[in-house]
Symmetry: C2
Subunit: 457 residues, 2 copies
Amino acid sequence: MSRERLVVIGGDAGGMSAASQARRLRDPDNLEIIALERGTHTSYSACGIPYWIGGDVSTMDDLVARSPEVFEQKYAIEVWLRHEALGIDLDRREVIAHDVEARVERRVAFDQLVIATGATPLRPQLPGISLPGVYGVQTLDDGAAVQAALRNSVRDAVVVGGGYIGLEMAEALVRRGLRVTVVEAGGHLMSTMDPDMAGQIVDAVRAMGITVRLADKVVAIEGESRVRAVRTESATLPADLVVLGLGVRPNAEIALEAGISCGPTGGITTDSQMRTSAAGVWAAGDCVETFHRVSHKPVHIALGTHANKQGRVAGINIGGGYATFPGVLGTAITKVCNLEIARTGLSSREVEAAGLSAVTASVESTTRAGYFPGATSMTTKLIAERGSGRLLGAQIVGREQAAKRIDVLATALWNGMTVEDIIGLDLAYAPPFAPVWDPVLIAARKAALAVIDDRKS
Amino acid sequence: MSRERLVVIGGDAGGMSAASQARRLRDPDNLEIIALERGTHTSYSACGIPYWIGGDVSTMDDLVARSPEVFEQKYAIEVWLRHEALGIDLDRREVIAHDVEARVERRVAFDQLVIATGATPLRPQLPGISLPGVYGVQTLDDGAAVQAALRNSVRDAVVVGGGYIGLEMAEALVRRGLRVTVVEAGGHLMSTMDPDMAGQIVDAVRAMGITVRLADKVVAIEGESRVRAVRTESATLPADLVVLGLGVRPNAEIALEAGISCGPTGGITTDSQMRTSAAGVWAAGDCVETFHRVSHKPVHIALGTHANKQGRVAGINIGGGYATFPGVLGTAITKVCNLEIARTGLSSREVEAAGLSAVTASVESTTRAGYFPGATSMTTKLIAERGSGRLLGAQIVGREQAAKRIDVLATALWNGMTVEDIIGLDLAYAPPFAPVWDPVLIAARKAALAVIDDRKS
């Protein structure tokens, strides 16, 4: 094989995982690799930004897993920073990139291309949405902008959206001494959790001194040279700083314009090997649409774990190996103050949307043996298919040591286990770690009874 | 059906789970239930005894999940305390029991019988082994005896055996101010772990001020009216107190004498529904032999989780329902000082004994995102079958938040996943809970490469 060139658009998790894996299998004589990154960082943890803002993480550099220098020196991967990809010319097999520093346009030829352009925070079409002081939190540069704003005299912050990022940012800002209000359009925080699990969450958020406005909607951002207030359907909230936590959309325009297929979620579609519809063009990370293993529907879930895995798969295949990305379960976890929150699979609402029918069971139990110091209460909810008893989803809310138990349920779900099967699992027991019936198993017992009762009725 | 009588021998986890489940399905008009318990407690946590001795748990009562009064009042289950079963007369369908208080023998007729006689600490045939001051730790009364000894002036303790119970008791005794020596005949502590994982364990044990003697063997216990020293192959160790941590053997004599089948491990054999070889006679808990899902061999693993599950299964079947016990993986977890230790499936030695062949991979990674406060290092070792890549076993050693991850691997093992499959699992990620590649997944990646490399060689 003559020397090929791989170009990667996007220097974060998806792109750089692909580049590194391809390099592991093909040396520089065989494959030249160039990564185009529009910002100034590579392979960083966007998920860590709220902890940097909140002060748990001291510097931005801590969030960088691998710098451009490491990629160049250790992996022989060229990283072109401050290069924004403007288009893909599939006929000439070139990426058109804007070199922001030099202010010139470059055409970069490729044999293989990985599109890893990430996602962008949703910005609703509202008056004032573009005012300075309104931040999305997706890149390190976004985080740096919030940090810069916090160095000025800011007192009031409004977070729009009460999901993961919204609550993590609300906590960070309260820890930085701001008065924080979260405005959530839905009836409860964390719309990916069932409403009955959300009560504990809103209590924990309010206990931190955060004001929560549920079922209220932002209608405008006010201010002149800078944001000054947020107007909702029912109030005007003073705001020196606004953080958008409304989710993200895939950055797929560049692919779409080149004629590469995107799916109903707006993400780039790929096959299991992360190939797009165009020959020699791959995609990975927050810009792609993926497959939900329970609903069997396409989904767009922007998360570093998926980006890393998809990038790895693309890179192995580009490298001449074989790997596939098996889809996702929608597993997620977060911490609000000391409340741990996790979920996997389908929520009750998603069960319905998928045309499935389920019974549910919630149990209160303890993280350790009840008599062991530090044992705390946790709630585990299981959602099981009617009739079959097949696990469809699970949710956990609790304190220390509670939420990572979701991984057991994610693994059970991955393997199509029924709640009756789960009861038998040989999970680890010792008093400092679990009651003799682990909360996961207690929940499975209750769910199995619910399945039987439902069959009788 | 006319009213039947269920007799249960043994008032702890296995027996009382069976009794409660049977009661749930059959009311007192339909099923009379009598439980014979030779001690004075029901449904207690033997695993909690070291924490009671060490002071984490303040009273013995904390370890009792359900008292005899609760069983009588809430479940209409008669509990006959201080009744030791001496024999089973299968022809007359009677249990012969010794009423220790009244000093009389009683014959208790049964229609259904559950044998849940538990296990007894191994006592090697050594000179002096029966001296006062030598304790096994299996029942609450054993624990009370150690507590009583600690109220006298004791300074030196020797723990014989460096497994789970031995190390938990060694830590408890050191916390009570004793000078403690652990004598282990094998070359490393925790023989159920691979030797390469055991180095961190011995370091942690020694860091607590405990003396560890590896590859040394106790040859005699010395003393006159009471233990005074322990003689090993290479030293004589002063000892006011000796704790046996050499494992347990099933209490199956009563079954064997009645002609009920026992297996090669010495435990009572049962079918999947927990039926013994005798009609209407069931068994559950530490007295039974069970099935290992990976080695496909009979094993005797005395653990509260299995006892509870087996009792539940027996009780459901006695109650007219249907349930089966699916076997075990040998999952276990413990904490030595702040070092967490866990394992599941087969160890490298057990792989060989089962006639299997494996490759292994160990990785060091962090419990949380590397940059997140409180992230600590943990070691994850996976053992995968050569060729197929099927997971055969896993071991974890680390600090806080490390070891319960074994449950993910136990669930993967339960479902026959390969290490390649495991890489794809959608496990929960957020910086306070895991790095973006969870340690389980990093280990799976390394193991998958090891499987491929082995195929090439």
